[in-house]
Symmetry: C2
Subunit: 131 residues, 2 copies
Amino acid sequence: MAQAAGELTLNQSQVLGHLRAANAPMTAYQLLGRMQNDRGAVAPPTVYRALKALEEAGLIRRIETLRAWAPVATVRPGVVVICDDCGTVRGVEAPGLLESLHERLVAEGFAEARKTIEVHGRCGDCAEDRA
Amino acid sequence: MAQAAGELTLNQSQVLGHLRAANAPMTAYQLLGRMQNDRGAVAPPTVYRALKALEEAGLIRRIETLRAWAPVATVRPGVVVICDDCGTVRGVEAPGLLESLHERLVAEGFAEARKTIEVHGRCGDCAEDRA
DNA sequence: TGGATATACGTTATAGTATAACATAGCGCA
DNA sequence: TGCGCTATGTTATACTATAACGTATATCCA
């Protein structure tokens, strides 16, 4: 069951599909539940393997502070903004910010490999709802 | 067993002591092991309760990307820099950077409550060791 | 004084997140 | 055909975190 490079397997595309259909990040076990609805018996490694492959392909990322996963389409750049009321997540572009942090660390001799920037709070829509 | 505000209980000061003695963040269960060495039977809630109190007191913080805990040195730094080789963690102050991100989000109507910024890579010392 | 309340901790059990290890199956190709 | 590769299945277990309930001690104040 070899797989052409750049294409998704069935597991992977199902997991990605569920993540893209959701309006908030999903935990691995929420995904597992969906997969079991779709297909019957599915075990955790099936989901975790798909998540790993999708993450390596740059199609999803883990939201560390939520222990959950989101498609990069909703979260693309470096800064992830999370509304604790409605659960939605979006990416904010802040190239200058990331750049200056990078410079700063390089100057201190630190070789940066991976950045996680997550901001929690309440989005404008939810603030209005409570106004 | 009420506790004067601002003072640490025995559990809390033992947990904090272990974290300060370590040269890298520790997981809750590593701490649990140390506590058991010190005192015999100790259960997870004892450790987690101490961690929660210490975090609320601003004395430690959870390193999300490591699922581990580290003491906070004096000022609460905005950016946590983690060496994946030696495991050490340090805080970097970057007030301008955080400020500009904050402005940016306020402009979009987002009310920020909590930020997590963690950078992984290799520190200068470890780069030298491998040179 | 004594009882209502609050806080910390003990204890048991369980929920939630993630991976190790080994087995099976399909595919490309020498 | 038989070998090696990759994806998936399957079982078990490790690791992280919290719920729920019980006990002890301190504090407040009627």
